[in-house]
């Protein structure tokens, strides 16, 4: 039993266990935190497969953006999750059926893939002497520069759109004015008052 195998079983076990906890945890905030744990362990599995670029993307995109967004939504919206869970048993049969179908499909794919592997050599995921982040970088900024920049343009439009449709310009925004802060002297803000003993102000 090598170290790699050990690492695989560790990541796989934690990943499955935390995925189970995502759906069974009572508190939705815990669910999201378990989801993050699942993502981290799946990223570990990707690293073991030699797909370190995917692993990085998984952590950056799913943990960094999606899971944090979930967490915000869960904490900001006052949803009664106990109420949502009420119909759980009612939907159990259909859920179980779908799960069974998925399991059968997985088994089919597994059976087919073992045969395919024996017939032909798998294409190499990573080119010789190069990490796959480097390999993607080599084509992304050369052959695919047009698509890459176009994707950037799409994101720019999405950003402008989100701002245009939601930003409300307030009448008198209270912005920080550093010049005004620096120009303010002690005399402007502090006043010394002599108070007679026994008197109020």
């Amino acid at each position: 039993m090598t170290l790699t195998t050990l690492a695989f079983y560790l990541f796989a076990t934690v990943s499955v266990a935390s995925a189970f906890m995502v759906i069974s945890a009572r508190n939705p905030v815990y669910s999201v935190l378990f989801l993050i744990l699942t993502f981290f362990n799946s990223a570990g599995l990707f690293v073991l497969m030699g797909a370190e670029f995917l692993a990085m993307i998984l952590v950056v995109v799913y943990v960094g953006a999606v899971a944090v967004l979930f967490l915000f939504v869960v904490m900001m919206l006052d949803i009664d999750f106990a109420e949502l869970n009420e119909g759980f048993l009612q939907y159990m049969p259909i859920g179980a059926t779908i799960g069974l179908i998925l399991l059968l499909e997985l088994l089919l794919i597994f059976g087919a893939s073992t045969q395919l592997v024996s017939q032909s050599a798998l294409p190499q995921a990573t080119p010789e002497g190069m990490t796959n982040a480097e390999a993607i970088g080599r084509v992304l900024y050369t052959d695919y520069i047009y698509y890459f920049q176009a994707a950037g343009a799409v994101l720019l439009v999405a950003m402008i759109g989100a701002i245009v449709l939601t930003l409300v310009k307030s009448e008198n925004p209270r912005r920080q004015s550093i010049a005004a802060q620096n120009a303010r002297r002690r005399e402007d803000g502090v006043e010394l008052v002599d108070i007679e003993p026994g008197q109020g102000l």
Binding site: T142, Y146, A150, G161
Partner: protein, 498 residues
Amino acid sequence: MLANVTLLLPELVLFIGAMGLLMVGAFATTDATRVIEYGAISLLIIAAIASWLKGDAYPQLAFGGAFIVDAFSAFMKTLTYLATAVVIVMARGFMQNENLARFEVPVLMILAAVGMGMMISANDLIALYMGIELQSLALYVLAAIKRDSLRATEAGLKYFVLGALSSGMLLYGASLIYGFSGSTNFAGIAESFTAEDGILPLAQVVGMVFLLAGLAFKISAVPFHMWTPDVYEGAPTPMTAFFAAAPKLAGMAVFLRVVISAFPDALAAWQQIIIFISVASMVLGSFAAIGQTNIKRLMAYSSIGHMGFALVGLAAGSQDGVAAVILYITLYGIMTLGAFACILSMRRDSGMVEQIKNLAGLSQVRPFMALCLAILMFSLAGIPPLAGFFGKLFVFHAAIEAGLYVLCVLGVLSSVVGAYYYLRIVKIMYLDPPTDEANDPMPRELSIIAGILAGICLLFFVYPAPLIDLAAGASQALIAMPAPEALLTGLFGPTDFR
């Protein structure tokens, strides 16, 4: 590398210019909307001239075959950019009056125009999708720009959800085609998509159907038209004018290019699809518009019908047919923009009106506006000797040449039905008594635009040769000229580790 960039010049000018204008708008201390509108108009005119000058007869490829520049793309891009510029001019007064004048609007319109340019020049499935998304995303925002109006936000949301659905269909089709042909490039797809013993590969046909469904949505052809009336009615009127003109030009251009250059050997397969959506669009566009009372909704159905007529030419599948489609869509753009210039002038003391009955007796109050709108309506109905008639003449001629008699008969019949609602508007303007409240005078820029466009429709028959020649040249570039061998080696020679 430099050759790639020079081919992309019009889009680069627009995109970098849009980012510059955005910075001006964001950091300007006073309201810079006016300046940005003028900047946007001049950028679009520069881009139109630049793309016009790029229109060499022989196709040129950039970015490993993803981007193509030929006479067809040059012609369609020039039209699209000019249409966008005209809409920005038309929108100014309306946006000011309705308190919607924001500097982001012209910027988003430029970015949408960049997307349209990318669509028109797309020679690859990924480039096609990127262009469509850039265009659509900007249009969704523009539809909902009047964000405190329930109907405008509903229009934006509907457009977004249905647009996302259609993008999904398009991508599903694209993935099937890529999976079975091993190439995203149109030339590569055409190479593998050939009939064996008279039978086309089934998976690719299924992929093609999904791809065409996604594209039909973008030009609002039946049965993918459901969003059109609601979006056109709910969006602010200048934005409706934009939706009805520029994206339709780009959408039709991309439809032509995909069908002609990616599926040349599958003519029998796509011809049936085109014939069906063409007949369905013509019939629905004619009958559904009859009961409309809102003129923007009426224009939506009119637009659906006109897409059907344009597709009649494509169904012929010949070079003449494609030339007829290009001519038709050009004239459609001119007529629609003119009609919207008049609709944008339907203002009274109490505000904008958009009911057809508000036009009653317009000929006595505002004779020039009534005259322009009447000419444009006659032209949209296809009555000789106006421009719209010649558009229909050429598409039906191409279809007759190809032996599609039933299609032509159905087309002419629905054109007759459609004439009813166009002529009804003329009747209401000229024969009905005026209502109490009079229409405000036409704003100057709108009367100039409406006058010029109506004049083009009226006098097209005097000297139609230049436009017909241009359409013929563009169609020749698309059909007869084989694209040069795709530079599959990429920008810097073959990538070393492949």
